[in-house]
């Protein structure tokens, strides 16, 4: 087996380093980061929403789940392509069909 020549590796690394050089303004980045830090400090504490979410989240999810068959059944585009895409779980095709059916094209 041929071992890599470390000399070659360092030359390659130098070439990669040169190609990866970017303009970088450390002062601007520091100011931007500190601006976020200060903004977070100033921000008021978020209201307590957990109790509300505990009840509303599952209820909303169950409603969407229950309504899905009716939405699909009443969908104006029920052609073979759409049903095939739905069966195959082809999200891109479904979106495309939905866009055509919804008059987006």
């Amino acid at each position: 087996m041929t071992m890599p020549d470390p000399e070659d590796d360092s030359a390659l690394a130098a070439r990669i380093r040169a190609a990866a050089q970017v303009a970088f303004d450390d002062i601007a980045v520091t100011e931007a980061v500190l601006a976020r830090v200060h903004a977070k400090r100033r921000a008021a504490p978020a209201p307590q929403r957990r109790t509300w979410l505990v009840w509303f989240g599952p209820a909303a999810f169950a409603s969407i789940l229950a309504a899905t068959p009716f939405v699909v059944a009443s969908y104006p585009v029920a052609d073979e392509d759409f049903l095939m895409a739905l069966a195959l779980g082809d999200a891109r095709a479904i979106l495309g069909q939905a866009a055509i059916g919804g008059g987006l094209e």
Binding site: P4, D8, D9, A11, L12, A13, A14, R15, I16, R17, A18, A19, A20, Q21, V22, A23, F24, D26, I27, V29, T30, A32, V33, L34, R36, V37, R92, L95
Partner: protein, 187 residues
């Protein structure tokens, strides 16, 4: 500590954890350029990389108190934060491109960068462009490993800490990346 000796990263992170802003400025000055270079070449977009750099150092500020020098070197820890952000960002960019919501990738990948390279000849610029294209053509993990090695200057153990893989796996990634780059004409 003698006044002329630079403060080490661990000490800077301890000061950041206490809320000392000048320590953050020093850390960004020391590691920001490397993080920006890795992010730019990994993501293929300078503007996306800029967001990643800011977010990474914001998280460094938020989580500095959690840094444990017994588990990793400070530079590995900082790069690990940036790498996780880069991977998430690239996944989103690819998804956006896949569903046709605009590229995000390769937008400004080959934009000329000011600095030491700006006065180079046409031949040098072509060589730079060739190198950038070759880096961009690498699989994601190989690209990340070779950038962390060549640009960030991390050794295999530090790259392993950063990517959360074994040093042996890092070596394999680097060997494959170098082989691919040579296959694409880089010497």
């Amino acid at each position: 500590m003698p006044p002329d000796q630079p403060e080490d990263d661990d000490s800077l992170l301890r000061r950041i954890a206490r809320g000392e802003e000048p320590a953050l400025a020093q850390l960004i000055s020391r590691h920001g350029r490397g993080v920006a270079a890795v992010a730019t070449r990994y993501l293929g977009s300078a503007s996306e990389a800029e967001d990643v750099v800011q977010e990474a150092f914001f998280r460094v500020w938020q989580h500095a108190a959690r840094f444990d020098p017994a588990r990793a070197k400070a530079s590995s820890w900082i790069y690990a934060i940036a790498v996780r952000l880069c991977i998430d960002r690239l996944r989103k960019l690819k998804l956006r491109r896949w569903i046709g919501l605009g590229g995000g990738l390769d937008v400004d990948f080959d934009s000329p960068d000011p600095g030491p390279g700006s006065e180079t000849t046409v031949g040098d610029r072509q060589a730079l462009a060739q190198t950038r294209s070759a880096i961009a053509a690498l699989p994601d993990r190989q690209r990340l490993a070779i950038l962390l090695s060549a640009v960030a200057g991390l050794d295999n153990a530090r790259i392993a800490e950063t990517l959360d893989i074994t040093p042996g796996a890092v070596e394999q990634l680097l060997v494959r990346a170098r082989r691919s780059l040579r296959g694409l004409g880089l010497r």
